[in-house]
Amino acid sequence: MDDNSIEVKGLYKIFGPHGEKYIKAVQDGMSKDELNAKHNHVLGLKDINIHMPSAKIQVIMGLSGSGKSTMIRHINRLIEPTAGEVIYQGNDICQMSKADLQEFRRHKTAMVFQKFALLPHRTVIDNTLFGIELQGIGRAECEEQARHWLKRVGLEGFEDNYPNQLSGGMQQRVGLARALTNDADILLMDEAFSALDPLIRMDMQSILLELQEELHKTIVFITHDLDEALRLGDRIAILRDGAVIQQGTGQEIVLNPADAYISDFVKEVNRGRVIQVDTVMTEKGKRSKTSVESGTSLENVAKMFSDTGENTAKVVDADGKAIGGITMKATINAMVTPATH
């Protein structure tokens, strides 16, 4: 399988007419406020370095104004960087010619937008095949692909409707189907589910996870919602004021928040769902009869204890070999948010 990882290196973005003039000053430590006050330019991104693994979901999280939407637009260069590199399969996207960039966007990436960005004058099916149509593929094949993916996202029978005849959740399924129909290795999702109601959002998250199990795309997912980030993200990068303040797996972030800002965030998180048994297992209980699989969340371990009435269990790897043990006490301790950090 191809390596579809994306390497972001030393990426800077300064908004304003002469951004490149101030890059040196910013690299030498000029602050966002100073840049704004002195030169009336806005620092969008500051020295971003992220390795986005192939075939995984990389979440970029931050509040509004943190630069996360700017960040994702550098991957398909909807925004021109001021400095830095975005490497994909050995090529720097930031250096691509116009023609190469167009090809790259057509074949390698697909994007899902917060506000859906569907074409109101096209029917659902015509929206879905918009991306491959641009590639110059014949109408019949376009339609076949589009129908397939519409079915996969549960929109069979709505092909001939217009977008504004659909609810928000359904519209975003069209957006997702459009991106999937493009059959690109990279899927960019810019707050794709943020505009949806909580229940529908959960639903869409499940659809995405389900599809990813089979598709193994490199997904870059932008969100401001930590629960969503933890649920979807194989890796998470947290942005604040245009800079990455912490990155790692969800579990790493929840267990070791880098600063007060992040610990504020993670305080409300359902830790039982995020933390895996591997993180808190010890030697204690390794010989128990009951077993849980490596990678099981603490929530599920607790459920198992409560179902079976046991107090200890062994943790086994994929081959069934015991690699550690877990107790009910340790489980409950780990699930409770620490009082301080």
Partner: protein, 303 residues
């Protein structure tokens, strides 16, 4: 009592004019230059418009020669295709019958030929200009004053050069109509394209649309409602210009109105004027309904 004029120095009360002889030389110089231009390039320019003139003459002859019952059927079908409204179809048939009965059939055909071809020319030239204008702010800042000029300068002013270049008849009449009627379609094409949702444009970019794909698959279709409003206005303004066009020999309902004005033929004026209004109403209703039908996607079913 002493007026202000007595107190002020002469230069304040009499405008310091250029001087009669200088103004005369100035006017004569420009006139002379234009005459030289006409002598030099008149034939070339006339040649350029020749196909248009031949087409317009042919189209007019076609409309005049087509038997009237067939013509009315064609009207009805076209109106039905455009508006899908029986009321408008019946109205069109009644209006045509009445106009024909009152002896204005041939003049109406001539006016229709002029209006149709003018509208066609305005659209064919106006939309590309509008697109060009929407693509660059600099272009817009150059074109907008020209459009203002075209719309506000009295038509009689440009009738003179148009006539010197193309003589009298249909072709110069058509040019005069287009100068006045083209600005709305240009303006509204530009506006329509500029109003296209930025999110949708970004999506097109993200999927790798080339500039022309973006224009023809996203921007123009979404600009269509505004563009159609522009076409509608262009037709209305073209109709308003038929009387002026008849001043330089474009025949039709307009020349009858002119004749009525010259002779105080009250009834003739009202009849031909009303026929122009009837055509205007039909064109307006049909193009509006057609424009609405193009936007059936905007009918919200879901709340």
């Amino acid at each position: 009592m002493m007026g202000l004029k007595d107190v002020l120095p002469d230069v304040m009360t009499e405008f310091p004019e250029m001087g009669r002889a200088d103004i005369r030389d100035f006017k004569k110089g420009i006139d002379g230059a234009f005459k030289d231009f006409v002598r030099e390039y008149g034939e070339l320019i006339e040649g350029f418009f020749y196909p248009l003139k031949i087409f317009l003459s042919w189209f007019e002859r076609l409309l005049v020669a087509t038997p009237w019952p067939l013509m009315i059927i064609i009207f009805a079908v076209l109106v039905w295709l455009g508006a899908r409204s029986w009321v408008i179809v019946v109205g069109t048939i009644l209006a045509s019958l009445l106009i024909g009965y009152l002896g204005m059939w041939e003049d109406m055909m001539k006016t229709l030929a002029l209006i149709s071809v003018s509208t066609f020319v305005c659209i064919a030239v106006g939309i590309p200009i509008g697109i060009l204008m929407s693509k660059s702010d600099r272009m817009q800042s150059i074109i907008v004053p020209i459009l203002d000029f075209m719309q506000t300068i009295p038509a009689f002013v440009y009738l003179i050069p148009v006539m010197m270049l193309l003589g009298i008849g249909k072709a110069p009449g058509l040019i005069a109509v287009c100068i006045y009627a083209m600005p709305p379609v240009i303006r509204l094409t530009d506006l329509g394209i500029r109003l296209v949702d930025k999110d949708v444009l970004e999506a097109a970019d993200a999927f790798g649309a080339s500039p022309s794909q973006k224009m023809f698959r996203v921007q123009l279709p979404l600009a269509l409602p505004n563009l159609f409003a522009g076409v509608n206005q262009t037709i209305m303004m073209a109709l308003a210009m038929v009387v002026v066009a008849s001043l330089i020999g474009a025949q039709g309902l307009g020349s009858n109105v002119l004749k009525a004005v010259n002779n105080q033929y009250l009834t003739l004026g009202i009849m031909n004027g009303s026929a122009i209004v009837a055509i205007a109403i039909v064109f307006d209703r049909v193009s509006q309904k057609f424009g609405k039908r193009l936007q059936k996607h905007s009918e919200t079913v879901h709340g």
